[in-house]
Structure formats: structure tokens, C-alpha cells
Amino acid sequence: MIHSLFIINNAGDVFMEKHWKSVINRSICDYFFEVQSKAATPEDVPPVISTPHHYLINIYRSQLHLVAVVTTEVPPLFVIEFLHRVMDTFEDYFGDSSEATIKEQYVVVYELLDEMLDNGFPLAMEANILKELIKPSNILRTIANTMTGKSNVSGTLPTGQLSNIPWRRTGVKYTNNEAYFDIIEEVDAIVDKSGSTVAAEIQGRVDATVKLSGMPDLTLTFMNPRLLDDLSFHPCVRFKRWEAERVISFVPPDGSFRLMSYHIGTQNLVAIPVYLRHNISFREGSGGRFDVSVGPKQTMGKTVENVSLEVPFPKSVLNVTLTPNVGKYTFDPVNKIMVWEIGRIDPTKLPNIRGSISLQSGAPIPESNPTISVNFTINQMAISGLKVNRLDMYGEKYKPFKGVKYITKAGKFQVRT
């Protein structure tokens, strides 16, 4: 299936290659560079590129291009999903998946890649299994290894690989048994000029960090499971139980993992937590005026934090001179992007930014106003109203410490002006 993998940085440097079948010369990447040079931004590179004898399927993540080479028909999503899992695994192992980290940890990276695929077909992808095969290196272990002469490589097959629950290893022990669940919701919205919502969706996920000894069997129930209509689960969740009783019952993997993600579509009514009042105008000759203020709306009494606005101005804009009453702003004269960092919104003093825009002399005035992207975080609230009812544990005797956190964030939250 997957023949080879090349990892390329933004400078066009192929700094790692791995072949699972016969070796393919790295000159194959020239086809990729050719397409890349045509794309305006790295994001615009098409994920599938056809060359005379090979097909290149690539992803762009963490400033890196991962280019997989395939020679025959294969479901492209299969490869894309795999590449993203590779990056996930790196992040899991090293904390991030930047070029520097990968170069630094090249041996582990190479061993991981070797273990993940056999003959181009996934062999062991589950983080728990990989961690037993190849121990992630940390300072403590490095010291221990040098002292004891042990290696990072495990000599036995992880038990999980063979059991019915491949995601969990046996013999897990903690002194503090704890289970934390973060319910994170992202609001995607398009708000039009007049302030009415064109489209709004919620993308939610439940990220769990479970550090429990033994083989706990957890059951998570919601106050209002009816909200959840379209979701995907970690393989550990018993799907039938959900279908039947609307409870989430699972034997959790050890450590951090995404328990489920859900999607609340455009058909539902989605509350929009902030509003923008804007007045942007361009005039021939002199430039233009810019006046935007932000305010909270439907936040159920919670404060809106980490608010920032991103305004991509048209290319003909030369500079902006603005004065915010809260926070500060920066303007990137190359990309013409203005970012206004507001922080917390104080309802008594609504943040406002105003000033003038100067245009390049002689340039025609832009015909459209920029679309403003808004970022914000609201703690202690899930905008959909989802609430955890209780978490029960079976199968083990101790009393675990349990915690649930709610966060609402802006996803692709855009205001057309």
C-alpha cells in the first residue's frame, strides 16, 4: 500500500525518508516541488498528486510536508489518515512534531516508522502498543538505561496486541487514581454583514486523561444525551450500549486519548457567544476608516476570554493607524494582516478599536471589506448545553478521583463585513 515516506520541511529539504518496500529515489519529490511551487500557500497543495508511475499523497502539518508514495490504487483517505496518525504519534512521544524534534529523535522516529507499517500496511498503530514496543525516551529513562544497560526496545510482545482490548496494556499501576474529562466545543460560524448568523455548527470532543490502575470499566452518562446525534468514538467505547442506553461505557486506554467527538449540525440552533459591531469603509484617495467593537452575547454569565480578532486587509492597503481602548494590535505589512489581542471582555467597557486605513497611492479602492476571524475561549461552559451526569467505575475496588472541565472555543468563527 504505502511504498515510501518522505518528510520535507518548508525550505524544500527532504530530511527523512523511509521505504517499506523497494527503495524509491528521492527525486520523486521533484514532482511534489513542482506542484508546491504553483500553490499560493502550503495549504493549497492538493493532497493527491499524480506522477507518471507513482502517486504522491501528502499532508501539511506542523510546517512539514509528509509525502507518501504509492504505486497502486489505494483509498486516499487510508493514507491521509495514516499520515496524520504518524504525526499524532510523534506528538504523543515527543510533545511536538516539529522538524527539530524529529531530527533530534531520529532513531526513535525511524524505529516507530518501521514498527507502524509492514509491507506498507499498518501493523501497530495504537499508541499504547507502540509505547510498549518502543519506550518513549525521557531523561529519567535515559539515566536508568545507562545505569542498567537496558534499552528502549522491548523484547516481548505487548499483551494488548493480542487481547480483546488492544488499546490497554495490563498491569497498569498508579498511586493516585484519577480520571479527567475535558469537554471542548468549538463553534464554527459565519455571521454576515448585518449580524445575522448564516451558518453555525458545533464541533465537540471529549478528551480524557485516565490514570487508573488495573482494568477499570467506566461508564459516563450525560444529562442530555439527546443533543448528541452524530458522533464518533474511540474504539474502546461499546457502541451498542450507546445505541441502547445512551451511556458511554468503555475500558479506557491508559493515559490521554480522545474518547469521542461529536458534531452538532447547522439544523440545530447554535448560540453565538460574541457579536461584532463594525464600520469599515474605503474612500477614493484618502484611504479608509476602521471602527470595530466586540461584545458578549448569550454567554450564560460566563466571561469571554482570550479574545482576538484577525483582519486580513486587501493587498492595496499600505498601513493602518488604529487606537484600541483595550489590548493592543499588530499589523503585518507583508501579509496585510491586522491582529487585535483583546484578552478578557469586560462587559462594562466594551472593547473598541478605531482609526484610519491608508491605501497605496493610485491603487483603486478595494471593492470588498475583509472577513474578520474571531477567536475566544469561554471556560466552564459547553455552548451546546451538554452536561455530564455522572461517571461510574466498575471492575476495580479503589475510589478514583474524577474531574470534568468544560471549554467553549471559537473554531472557524468568521464575521463578514
Partner: protein
């Protein structure tokens, strides 16, 4: 790539611990500054070689790490091959692993040297550690050296019989590797694949199918027998395997089942012919269905087809986008139209994933939305474009929005489009205008609105927008005028407007469009047209080719309609064109001149010029780029690229008539009826003994059971027992079973026995089973009377059912004497359990010509489990009954005899904690509530020793105390007898030679050399059965191990008082232990 050199120095070397002795040299050697001094490549790697040659593991490791760094960077490290390959024998696992990695990379280039390592791998293939076996096979098969093909073949064959599923999985991966190395081996490999396909573990399934797809995708016949198993296992297979299996099953379904939409399709076609529209397909379909039902024979879906769809549905909630997409395409290609809609929701969810995923999903949705508009209509807003989307995603969203447009939704879509036009992304803005054009052409109601909007756009400041609008307007006008010839004055103002713009627009395509339009509709603007031509003629030489051609066209047309004013101009233009650089233009001019301004030798065509040039032209059709994409299977690479990718297999059309569905039957359904009748009778007798105290829990099961029956008529009896058994034995799964009638089909056996069971559940087992048995009998009769077809179906799934059932009957009726302890309360579960047990084992060993048979001898030897003194009066002994365990056929039945010799009753005796080796399982005996003073009770439990000699350790709990006990099984008790013909025996013995053979000789007492004594002695040791032999003085016995089913062959050859013993078994430990036991038994005096 120029910066590679610089980077090499900075990165990759940093893993070097500063204390390492070799590092100093290494620095000098790899430092380009110093090595340039010598300019010698050999010198450069010298230090690495030295490090590899030392005895110190940490130096070796260091060297290997740096070599791997070179490999990872794609630098040539092949000259180190001899130094590296030596280390393949290293004891250090990490070094070894890195050497393996290196070998797979360079073995192809250094074939001769690579051969040095082969023997190491061969040895590692026999390693007791499954991980080492697997990685040896992985590397061995990855070394692409043709010389070792036979060795690879042999290793694969051996490994696919390995008891570790992980090794078998690796073997499945090795098959395509070998195939690519030597395609001639195909036939042999197919045999191996066939074997792996029959494997019951989920770990192997995905890889086996992948091997199948790469080696012999055309051998669809291999799938038949495994089809149901695959469907049932699907949910438990790992994600990647699921994708491969679903894709394969899609193809399978398209060849084996008839089109579920067949009835609709015929209708649809005729419908189309009448109205020429393909909108509202969905609606029409529904109406059709209603109208049709009485007329046509209703389509009945093959239950296997339904099974596939049903088992795939939960996978729509997978976290893996590839799995969701695979299910979506399965439904799109194979499901009845009405059911396809439900995949839409899951696909929409994927849209929030990574942008690459988005791109693929959107392009698939685009294809689906062409044919199935209704599917995605509710999700219209999810396709609205965000300004931060990558361009290719924006374009796809636009495409989909256009496809989805209907009379009702079009106004919102057009409003949305209007904001897109102002986008700074000009490519996207241009595409939006085209999309508006398409909407206008498909939905007549909005054509005028769109036209007006587009005309306004022509005054836009952006040139691309203007140009695109012009092109679209031209197309729309053309379509309109063909529709409504009656209104010649229509749109005159638009044409006038465009004619005025002709000189301002510089985009060639747009200019050409305007000119063409003026020529075509010159009758509507008779005054302006000649003037436009005049202006164009002035500037002719500076125009682009495409514009020049249109000027020629315009000139020709005007000359025909208005020759008085334009003839001279026309001639002038033709003259200019005559000397143009482009030959197309020269040719065109020459051709037009002959037609328009005929000279003295006027061609016969000249008089038809008007007809030729001013004929009404067919309107262009604006349609989706994705219209024909559905010729490719969705979710494939070919679909995304819109060309056939290498190795793409066309998705076959449904057959007119379904091929024989019985090929999927796993077993021939003969003899079953007789058996069930017998069983039924047997059950009738036992039916009365229900303990009322336990009824409660049982009834709740029963209720749900009945519901299920109502819901699903196809449900057959075996499934019933299956589910109820699950209900009671596994509290956890209980609800699943009750609620989801979809999954009532036979489960894989491994699920049945779980460690998590608690005492309560094991208690419930018998009560509910007892009741069930009487219950079931009725159903059995019912189903056999009414539904002969499903009945047959149910039997197919039961592998080895006949043999097992027959054997158990044997046991129940005949062997009660030899097996007195089994008459306890647990014995009458046997038929029921055995029956559903066999139904649970899907796709068992049908391939084997051997059958499990009843034991020839039941030993009476008992072992002590718990001493009377340590047990505080409770003593337990155990013995092996050599019956097939009722709990799992992999378990050995152990009969416990509990005696209370204390002065007070012992309460609640049950099994507590178990400390088991991996792979071992215990099925508890039912809790004994009260063991009276001096009373003796027997109980049966099942232990799966996983073919090891390890003892099973567990706790026996009473109300007060807990005793840790161990049950140790002699190897002979982990065998079950199998019937076999002599030639088969010899054949198998031949295969199991070499390391799998253990032999020895014993001296025996003369009186012991008769056949009776010998066979008794053998039977005492091992649970085997004699194979009838033609040879004198040679006695043969056959059996197989309980857990892995590996054959155990024993032969005793007498030569006077000497007996040559030979034990063949692929489990070497078992073979050698057995030989030792046999020797002891043979030589012992009576």
C-alpha cells in the same frame, strides 16, 4: 536540497553521548573540514566499522544509531554492509532491531552478503518468543533477494500455522512481499492465503484480506466460505483492516447479489425518457415504489447482503475517516436507495477534520450529490465557504452547492454566491460566476435574475470577474435564444451593453465571446455590429489568436447579412489573416473567403453559406465536472484523480441473477435434522427440572428474547441460544444483545468466555440454559416446518456441528457409566451449550479431513487440589474427564470432587481470583451454595491451558476462607483424539519431520507387547485414538491439541521387546514432554 550538507552537521549527530570513547574519532571523521583533508570515503566510515567490531554493546548501539541516521537521511551507507551484517546475531535487542532495519534497506543491493544473515533468521523463527519469531519473519520476507525465495516460502507456510496470531499476521504481510519477488509462486501462495482467510482471530483477518487483494483478487470463490465470518468479525477488526475488508466486500457484494434498486432503475429510465429531467429523483423514486409494488414481484434482499450492510453500519461512527468513507461507498454502491441517505451525516462530520480529509470527502460528496441531491440537501449550510479554506476545498464546496441547488434553496445559495464573488481569491471568484451560470441554466426560474446580476458584474473593476461573467452570459443567452426563438428583441440591451464593452475588455476569452455573440445576434443590433467589426479590424494584428478567429467569424457572418456595409471590411480582414503567423487563422481565412466572397470559380457551397453560418446552434450544456466521476468506485484514488490508477479494479455491475447463495454455507446441512430431533427429545426430558428460585433473572432474559423474535423473523434457533447464553453469562453485554437485534448473528467464540464473569453470572448460566432448552425445542420445530430456507442457512454457519453434536450425544447416552461424575447438575447443559458452541465457531476446520472423536479411554487417576488439612476440612481432588468441555472446545474438562470432612457445612464454594498465563482461560464451576457435613459434590470446570505446560493457578473461596490452588495438566490431557486415515497419518507425519519429531526406544516387558496393553499404556498418558494401520507391529495414534488444534501423532513400532516411539507435533514442547511420559508409561511395571 542544497542545504542538506549543512544540516547534516547540525542534526543527527547529537545523540552521541559525550563520554563515548568512539565519539572523538567520529567527530573528526564526519566533520567535513577534516575529512576533506583525506578526501577518502573509506576512511570516513572507518570509525563506525571499528565501533561495530568491538565487543561493547553500547559502542555498537552508538554506531548503529548513526548508521540509521544516514539511512534515514537517504545517504549512502551501503559500504558498511559487511560490518553491520555481522551484528545480526547480537544479543542486544536494540542493536539487533537497528541491524534489521538496516538489512531491509540494503540487502537488495548486497545480495551475497545478505545471505550470511539468513541462518540467523531461520533460527529466530523457532524462538519461543513470538515477537522475535514475527520480527525475524518480517525481516526475512523484506530482504528482496531472489535466492531465498524457497526459504521464504517455507517460513511463511510454517508461520501461518504458528499459534501466535501476531506471527500469523506477519505471515499474511509476507505473502505479497514474496509474490512481488516471484509471481510464479502464486498458486502456492493462494493455498496459504486460503488457510489464513479461515483464521478466526480478528488480528489476522485484515492482513489476510490485504494479501488476498494483492495476490489473487480474482479468486472471489475463496471468500464465499469466509463471507459470514468476515461480516461478523468486522466490528472487532482493527481500523485499517476494516477499510480493506469493506472494500473487498463491496466488490464481493456487487458480484454475488442482485441490484437492490433494480426495480427503481427500470422505472427511472422510462421516466427520464418522458420528461427529460433528472431532478427530484428521490421523490420520484418513492412514488414509483408505491405505484409499483402491487405490479412487480417485490425485491427480496439476500440475507447475506443484509448482514453485510447491517454489520457495517456501526462503523460509520468510527474515528477513522477512511473507515467511515469505506462504509459510505459501500452503501452508495450496494445498498437500497432509501438507506444510502444515512451515511450523509457521518460524512458531514468528517468535514471538520484535517483539510486533506476534507478535500477527499468533499470530492466524494460532489460525485454523490450529482445523482442523489436529496441526500445532502439538509446539510446545505455545512458547505458554505469559510474565507480560510484552501482554494481546492473552496472550489469543491462551490461545486457541491451548485449541485444541490433546487427551486427552494436556490435563492439562499445565490445570495451566498454573491459574497463569494467579492472574495480576494480570484480563482474562486471566477469559479463562483461559473457556478451561478450553472444554477441559472438548470433552474429556469432564476435565469433572468442571474443574467441581470451577471450584467452588473460586467462593470466590476476586476478583470477576471468581468471576463468570466461575459463568458457565462454568452452561454446563457445562447441557451435562452434556442429556447425562445419567438422573442428576438429579448436581451437586446445586454448585447448592446456588451458590444460597447468590447473594446475595454482585454481578457481574450471574454473578447472572443463578445465577438461571437455580436455575430450570432447581429440581427438584434444591426447598427452596432458593423462598427464593432470596424474597430476590431483596426486592431486585428494585435489580437490573440482566439480573438482573431472570432473576428473572422464575425466578419463572415456580417458579410452575409449586411454585405453592403461590411464587404470591404471583411475583405480587409481576410487579407490580414492571409498573412498571419498562425496557420489555423490562415486556413480559416482561406476557407471563409471561398464561401463568402466567391471568386470566378465559385464553389458549389457558396450558396449555402448563409445556412452554414447562421444556423441555430445547439446550446452548450453546463454540467458538473463530477457528472461522470461515478464510473469510478467512490473513495478510491482513481476517483480523486478522475483517471484509472494502476491496479484499479472496475466496480462490477450487479449480476442479473444472483449466483448460487449456498456457496456461502459453511457446512452441508445434512444429518442435522436428525441430530436436533434427538437433542430435542433429550431436552424434553430434562425440561422440567427448573429451579424456581432462579427464575427471576432468567425471566428478564426471556422477555427480551421474545421481543427479538418478534422483531426479526429470520432469527433462527441457534442464534437464540447464542444470545440468551450471552445474556446470562455476560452481564455487560446483556443490554447490547437485547437492544440490538441486528447483532444477533453468531458471535465469535472467543467472546463467549470472558474473564470478567462473576459468580452470579455463572450461576445464571444453568438456570437460564435449562429453561432455554425447553423453549428452544419449540422454535426448532417451528422453524424447520415453516422456513426450510433459513433453516438451512442456520445450519450452514455451524461448523463441525454434526460431528460435535454426534459426539456429545454419544457421551450423554453411552458414556455416562465411564463418566459418572458428569451426571451432576451441569451435564444436561451439554447439548444446548455444545450446539451453540458449534454454531459460534464460525468457519472452523472444514479443511481438515480429520474429525474429533470420543476418547477411547477415560483415566480414573485423580490429583489432589486441596488437602483436607490445609483446606480446614474441605478437600478437593480433580481429574481430567477427557470430554469436550462444554464451555469452549479449547478447554480441557476438569472434574472437581469436593468433600467436606469437617464438622460444619461449608458455604458458598466458588472460584475467586485467577492468576493465569497469557492465553489461558478458566471457566468457573457453578458456585456450590452449601456443602453439608460429610457430603461430596462434583463440579466441572473448563481450563484452556493454551498448549503450555504451565499450571493454572486460581483461588477457591469459601464463605470464610480462600485457598490458592494449582491445576497442572499433563500434556496428554491437553489433547483430544481425532479420527484419521492411515495415509493421512503418514502424510501428516511426513510434514512434521525434523525439529517437530521426537523419537526414542524403550525396552518393555514381554508380556506387555500385545496391542491391548500398548494401546492402554498410550491411552493412559494421552487422550488420543488409534489409527487403523496396515503395518504389522506398528501402532499409530492421532490427536490434536485442544487450544491451537496442532496435530499430535504417535507411532509405536515393536521390534521384539524393543519399541521405537515417535511423537510428531508442531509444538515441540508438547512433543518432547509427551514422549517422556510415554516412555515412562511403557516401561513401568503393572
Amino acid at each position: 536540497m542544497a542545504s542538506n550538507g549543512g544540516f547534516q552537521n547540525s542534526g543527527y549527530n547529537n545523540d552521541r553521548p559525550p563520554s563515548s570513547t568512539g565519539s572523538g574519532d567520529a567527530d573528526v571523521a564526519t566533520d567535513p573540514a577534516s575529512s576533506s583533508f583525506f578526501m577518502n570515503d573509506y576512511k570516513k566510515h572507518d570509525d563506525l566499522k571499528q565501533m561495530l567490531d568491538t565487543n561493547k554493546d553500547n559502542l555498537k548501539l552508538e554506531a548503529m544509531k548513526r548508521i540509521i541516521g544516514m539511512v534515514a537521511k537517504g545517504k549512502d551507507a551501503s559500504d558498511l554492509f559487511p560490518a553491520v551484517v555481522k551484528n545480526v546475531v547480537s544479543k542486544n535487542l536494540e542493536v539487533k532491531k537497528l541491524v534489521y532495519v538496516y538489512l531491509t534497506r540494503y540487502a537488495e543491493e548486497q545480495q551475497d552478503l545478505a545471505l550470511l544473515s539468513i541462518s540467523t533468521f531461520q533460527r529466530a523463527l523457532k524462538d519461543p518468543n513470538q515477537l522475535i519469531r514475527a520480527s525475524a519473519l518480517r525481516v526475512l520476507s523484506s530482504i528482496r533477494v531472489p535466492v531465498i525465495v524457497p526459504i521464504m516460502m517455507l517460513s511463511i507456510k510454517e508461520s501461518c500455522n504458528d499459534m501466535s496470531p501476531y506471527v500469523r499476521k506477519t505471515a499474511a504481510h509476507a505473502i505479497p512481499k514474496l509474490f512481488s519477488l516471484d509471481p510464479e509462486l502464486k498458486d502456492q501462495l493462494i493455498e496459504v492465503i486460503e488457510k489464513l482467510l479461515a483464521d478466526k482471530t480478528t488480528l489476522v483477518a485484515g492482513s489476510a484480506i490485504q494479501a488476498f487483494e494483492e495476490v489473487c483478487p480474482e479468486r472471489i470463490d475463496l471468500i464465499h466460505k469466509n463471507y459470514r465470518k468476515l461480516c461478523n468479525l468486522l466490528v472487532d477488526v482493527e481500523e485499517w483492516g476494516q477499510v480493506v475488508i469493506i472494500n473487498m466486500l463491496t466488490r464481493y457484494a456487487r458480484t454475488q447479489f442482485v441490484n437492490p434498486n433494480r426495480d427503481d432503475m427500470i422505472e427511472e429510465e422510462s421516466e427520464k425518457a418522458f420528461y427529460g429531467s433528472d431532478e427530484d429523483e428521490e421523490k420520484e423514486d418513492k412514488e414509483e415504489e408505491e405505484d409499483d409494488k402491487p405490479k412487480k414481484k417485490p425485491y427480496v434482499m439476500d440475507p447475506d447482503h443484509r448482514l453485510l450492510l447491517r454489520n457495517c453500519k456501526p462503523l460509520l461512527n468510527s474515528r477513522n475517516a477512511a473507515v467511515v468513507m469505506a462504509v459510505a461507498q459501500l452503501y452508495y454502491h450496494c445498498a437500497p436507495r432509501a438507506e444510502v441517505g444515512m451515511v450523509a451525516k457521518s460524512l458531514i462530520r468528517l468535514l471538520r477534520s484535517h483539510k486533506e480529509v476534507q478535500y477527499i470527502v468533499l470530492s466524494n460528496i460532489a460525485t454523490m450529490s450529482v445523482k442523489r441531491k436529496g441526500m445532502f440537501e439538509p446539510f446545505l449550510k455545512s458547505f458554505y465557504v469559510h474565507s480560510t479554506d484552501p482554494t481546492h476545498v473552496k472550489l469543491l464546496k462551490l461545486e457541491i452547492l451548485t449541485n444541490l441547488g433546487t427551486e427552494t434553496s436556490i435563492s439562499t445559495i445565490i445570495r451566498e454566491f454573491q459574497t463569494y464573488i467579492t472574495s480576494t481569491d480570484k480563482e474562486f471568484a471566477a469559479a463562483t460566476i461559473q457556478a451561478i451560470g450553472r444554477c441559472a441554466s438548470t433552474i429556469p426560474e432564476i435565469t433572468d435574475t442571474c443574467l441581470n446580476g451577471l450584467v452588473r458584474l460586467m462593470s466590476n473593476r476586476d478583470e477576471t470577474v468581468v471576463a468570466e461573467s461575459v463568458v457565462v452570459i454568452k452561454k446563457l443567452l445562447q441557451m435562452q435564444s434556442t429556447d425562445s426563438v419567438s422573442q428576438p428583441q429579448e436581451h437586446k440591451d445586454i448585447i448592446v451593453h456588451m458590444a460597447k464593452m468590447a473594446q475595454d475588455i482585454t481578457v481574450p476569452m471574454a473578447r472572443a465571446s463578445i465577438l461571437w455573440m455580436i455575430g450570432e445576434y447581429s440581427d438584434r443590433v444591426p447598427k452596432i455590429a458593423p462598427d464593432v467589426l470596424r474597430q476590431c479590424a483596426k486592431n486585428f494584428i494585435n489580437e490573440e489568436d482566439i480573438v482573431k478567429l472570432q473576428i473572422l467569424n464575425l466578419a463572415a457572418k456580417l458579410c452575409i447579412t449586411n454585405s453592403k456595409q461590411t464587404k470591404l471590411l471583411c475583405q480587409y480582414v481576410f487579407n490580414l489573416a492571409k498573412y498571419d503567423q498562425n496557420y489555423d487563422i490562415r486556413d480559416r481565412a482561406r476557407f471563409l473567403r471561398q464561401l463568402i466572397i466567391p471568386g470566378e470559380k465559385a464553389g458549389a457551397f457558396a450558396k449555402y453559406a448563409k445556412k452554414m453560418f447562421l444556423a441555430t446552434k445547439p446550446a452548450p450544456v453546463l454540467e458538473s465536472k463530477f457528472k461522470d466521476r461515478d464510473q469510478f468506485q467512490l473513495a478510491t484514488l482513481s476517483h480523486v484523480l478522475n483517471t484509472k490508477a494502476t491496479g484499479y479494479r472496475e466496480i462490477p455491475d450487479f449480476p442479473e441473477v444472483a449466483p448460487d447463495p449456498t456457496v456461502r454455507n459453511v457446512e452441508v446441512p445434512t444429518a442435522w435434522v436428525a441430530d436436533t430431533n434427538l437433542l430435542a427429545q433429550k431436552k424434553k426430558k430434562k425440561g422440567g427440572k427448573v429451579k424456581p428460585a432462579k427464575k427471576k433473572s432468567f425471566y428478564s432474559d426471556e422477555e427480551s428474547e421474545e421481543e427479538d423474535e418478534d422483531e426479526e423473523e429470520e432469527e433462527d434457533s441457534s442464534d437464540e441460544t447464542d444470545s440468551s447464553e450471552e445474556d446470562s453469562s455476560e452481564e455487560e453485554e446483556e443490554s447490547d444483545e437485547e437492544e440490538d437485534e441486528e447483532d444477533e448473528k453468531p458471535k465469535k467464540k472467543s467472546k463467549k468466555v470472558e474473564d470478567e464473569e462473576d459468580e452470579e453470572s455463572s450461576e445464571e448460566v444453568d438456570s437460564s440454559e435449562e429453561e432455554e432448552s425447553s423453549e428452544e425445542e419449540d422454535e426448532e420445530e417451528e422453524s424447520s416446518d415453516e422456513e426450510p430456507q433459513p433453516k438451512a442457512k442456520s445450519t450452514k454457519a455451524k461448523t463441525g456441528a454434526t460431528s460435535n453434536a454426534a459426539m456429545l450425544l454419544d457421551l450423554d447416552f453411552g458414556s455416562t457409566v465411564a463418566n459418572p461424575a458428569a451426571v451432576g447438575k451441569s451435564d444436561f447443559l451439554m447439548p444446548v451449550l455444545a450446539q451453540d458452541m458449534s454454531s459460534l465457531s464460525i468457519g472452523g476446520d472444514t479443511g481438515r479431513s480429520t474429525t474429533v472423536t470420543a476418547p477411547s479411554f477415560i483415566p480414573t487417576k485423580t490429583y489432589e487440589l486441596l488437602n483436607r488439612i490445609t483446606g480446614g476440612g474441605l478437600s478437593i481432588t480433580y481429574r481430567f474427564t477427557r470430554t469436550v468441555s462444554i464451555f469452549s472446545e479449547k478447554m480441557a474438562s476438569v472434574e472437581l470432587t469436593l468433600t467436606n470432612s469437617s464438622d460444619k457445612p461449608v458455604l458458598n464454594v466458588k472460584i475467586g481470583d485467577k492468576k493465569l498465563q497469557s492465553g489461558m482461560e478458566i471457566f468457573d464451576f457453578p458456585e456450590i451454595g452449601n456443602l453439608g457435613v460429610g457430603a461430596t459434590v462434583t463440579a466441572t470446570m473448563g481450563i484452556n491451558f493454551a498448549d503450555t505446560t504451565q499450571p493454572a493457578t486460581f483461588d477457591v473461596c469459601t464463605q470464610e476462607k480462600k485457598f490458592s490452588v494449582t491445576v497442572k495438566a499433563p500434556v496428554g490431557e491437553q489433547i483430544q483424539p481425532v479420527n484419521m486415515a492411515e495415509n493421512e497419518f503418514d502424510k501428516q507425519q511426513g510434514k512434521l519431520s525434523g525439529m517437530n519429531e521426537n523419537s526414542g526406544t524403550v525396552d518393555m516387558a514381554t508380556e506387555n507387547t500385545d496391542i491391548k496393553t500398548i494401546s492402554r499404556r498410550v491411552y493412559e498418558v494421552a487422550n488420543v485414538v488409534q489409527v487403523p494401520s496396515m503395518q504389522d507391529n506398528t501402532y499409530k495414534f492421532a490427536g490434536k491439541t485442544l487450544s491451537a488444534g496442532a496435530l499430535v501423532l504417535i507411532s509405536v513400532k515393536l521390534d521384539g521387546r524393543k519399541a521405537a516411539l515417535k511423537v510428531n507435533c508442531e509444538k515441540m514442547v508438547i512433543g518432547s514432554m509427551l514422549l517422556k511420559d510415554l516412555k515412562d508409561s511403557m516401561t513401568k511395571k503393572d
